[in-house]
Symmetry: D2
């Protein structure tokens, strides 16, 4: 499959979807995207910048939600044009889809919404590639039904994304078998290495996270064989306005990508055993 | 709390929300509501009729979804007027909320959508009581955040509903502790005894169900102490157009309610130990 | 089935297995057994005293393990004779089974050991009734295999006991469906209401517990319909030398049993729907 | 740590524990060990032969359990001497430990028994290295308590082994975070890539397995960074007398090890990020 001008698949190097969880400012977006572009192009990793304009499902309604649609799209467009990278953002139940699709290169649907037929189909009707996150409540083989819904409206550029599955309360586990199972959909499989380390909810008013496990899960997933990797990053994760606990420091992303690229090369050389 | 003219709480008999999963025809709705009204009024159970006009999150996009908004609301209004019972229906990400709220007595939000802040708040803004189903991915103590979002828009008539939590793949478990934990929200707690026996997804294109466990879970939940019970029923569950495998036969609902009423009475007499 | 001289089954009142987790002293055992005998005989509940002489699977090897075999059996024999109640104790991988079986009325096998074929069969060969706890890792339908092993050595007095199933890390959930599923073994089903609220392991060196949920789960299980109830109790749970966090206060056991007896009566009157 | 004459750790190539699940015949054991020795020595993988003389916890008591202690030890001794490889076997609650320890190089304890204090300590007292499998019901951080028990009797040659954790009924999930967490014990961490794909119990009388996921999980675990890999293999898995469904074909083990060796080299070169 073609995605944003590059080829994706299990016979190609993995592509990276990365960025700050939420758009905090134009400057931060431009700088982060620029840094990531530089690192990934040296490593031969196709890159898509990701950031959200609105966090529609925060644990608490008092949390920061982002700059909103208009300002968010303005920043994403600027990143796209000035940095020269494709951009992805996530849309929600009440997002004006056409406006977003007019600007971004890839749309993404939230895990919680993967069973909403109308929503998934409306997003897929926008004619852009769509990264569909698998629900935390869903078995990997059931993504076939979701993909069937997506394709039924004529979109063939569907990515499926693992981001952990409910494991007791306030915890997720990343079932590596899932990455192999979801290949059966025929869609490129993406692994989200940062939401997978979330501790959803928790007893307070925000989700926690286990940043130290991001490289663990990223290495494991790349070794299994994936088409794409999703990772949220921030120059100063402890000051991030959203998902800081499960963001990987921008300053350490190069060393992580270096080992991932090598694992990826070997695994794909040997073929999927 | 007052709900549809009756008092609800742990010092009152449980109320029942029941009906066919989806509106299949006017006649079926009228008859089912009539039968349920007769049974519940003899047993002293306050009753709210439930049926859906659109199943927005079926496993497969090829399943029957219901009669649609207009025809669905027409039938619900007829049930309300002709049978003389309050009615509840569930709304989704793209439902015209005002139209629905103009007709029904209680709104219900789907479990998958319990983290969508805008959606929950928009539903709660309609000024009707709202039954919020807890997500299959959510810890019971995290419903506090959801209720806070709901109350922030001024709605104090919020019900919280347990319908099972993810337990491995294609299975749910009903954690009875959850019913006690959710009391801490201050909202009346409802137990959904029929979706709790769903086997979500499965390897095919529809969710399965374990009808034989409905009385098991209903009796357990009533013994724990709940304000309300939710149950889908059908005169011929094997012919139901949605959720048949986890519907309780209308012909057997009287015998089940009889034992539930007695358990409820004893448990509430003794107080919540 | 006959057990210790009383009849057990779904058409009989539930029997109670209760006592302090571990034998702390002769005096405590005698007093606790005496109090329980008095309460249960007033309520018409057949009663078996339970206490352990050795806690063989404590989280940490530095925890109190009990008085040991010899002193433990001496105390149990004294309880049996002086209080006049049947006694149950649990045996482990290296317990001299014959010595224990010579004294107690019922043997119990730990959940962790339910898959050890030799162990289960050796215990069952002692000719005493055996309460087999289902492993925290085991599906309820798989207890059929365990019961087959037990019966293969000629013991027909087998009880099967639910005590919670692993639900993520350091947590158990009590699946009420399990109580119905295990009836299929043909053995009386017992619900352990106190180990079910354990938080196994935890990040420290002992398991935690959620005492407040004991009545919740006990009421739920009795409402489902069980033959027996297992509950650890202590006059001062916070000072108990083992499993205090998941022991029910002896001073509050009467009020709990009173409501359970009434639920039990109603549920069994109506028959298992 | 030294193990059987080679150095193990995160700065050394992984070692392999492999063999047929149960000793089926002397010839099969010799041939399998010989083949594995040849393959591993070419790849620079330190190798320990594994096979069981008695499967003490089969689902059903009617399954094949192995040749028994005497014949089993005879075969293992012959493999050791004739093939010239160290051997490992698993011991159970009633195994004469001294006899086994006199012959084998490494002892292994079953996952179900990891909480039995006396058993674990008795095994560790034999003065041999011990591979302790983590229970399917246990959080990885709780292995610290088990290791403390093991070390308390003076054994410093302890390995800890992940083999999947309960995930709903009849399923296990391999949490890759666990491999990092268990490093905190200070013990070399081993990943069991074949029992991790077991479907424990199932509705019949034997555990199933998902052989196709063995390479998936093995690659993931090696990428995370482990000291050792455990894998059951058989020249004809479909004819294996135990654990066939989750054995990897001996004929395909070379291709799998080749890619694992390369992943291992890269991951350890880059260090544990």
């Amino acid at each position: 499959m073609q995605l944003c001008g590059f080829e994706v698949g299990l016979d190609r190097p993995f592509f990276l979807i990365a960025g700050t969880c939420v758009i905090e400012s134009e400057q931060l977006a431009i700088e982060t995207a620029g840094t990531l572009k530089e690192i990934t192009s040296k490593l031969g990793i196709p890159f898509v910048y990701k950031s959200s304009f609105d966090k529609a499902n925060r644990s608490s309604h008092e949390s920061f939600r982002g700059p909103g649609l208009e300002e968010g799209l303005r920043v994403l467009e600027k990143v796209r044009r000035d940095v020269g990278v494709p951009v992805l953002t996530d849309v929600h139940e009440d997002t004006p889809l056409r406006e977003v699709a007019a600007i971004v290169d890839v749309l993404q649907t939230p895990a919680f919404l993967c069973r909403q037929t109308n929503f998934i189909q409306n997003v897929c009707r926008q004619g852009k590639p769509v990264n569909i996150k698998k629900g935390q409540f869903m078995a990997p083989w059931d993504m076939k039904n979701v993909v069937d819904k997506a394709r039924a409206v004529g979109n063939e550029q569907i990515l499926v994304c693992e981001r952990g599955v409910s494991f007791g309360y306030n915890n997720l586990v990343s079932d590596m078998r899932s990455l192999a199972v979801m290949r059966e959909t025929g869609c490129p499989v993406v692994f989200d290495a940062t939401h997978s380390v979330q501790l959803p909810g928790g007893q307070g008013t925000a989700s926690g996270g286990q940043r130290e496990f991001i490289p663990i899960l990223a290495k494991a997933a790349v070794a299994v064989g994936i088409s794409g990797l999703f990772m949220e990053t921030h120059p100063e994760p402890d000051k991030a306005k959203s998902d800081g606990p499960n963001s990987w420091p921008l300053t350490r992303i190069k060393e992580l990508l270096e080992v991932l690229v090598e694992i990826d090369r070997i695994v794909k050389q040997h073929g999927m055993i």
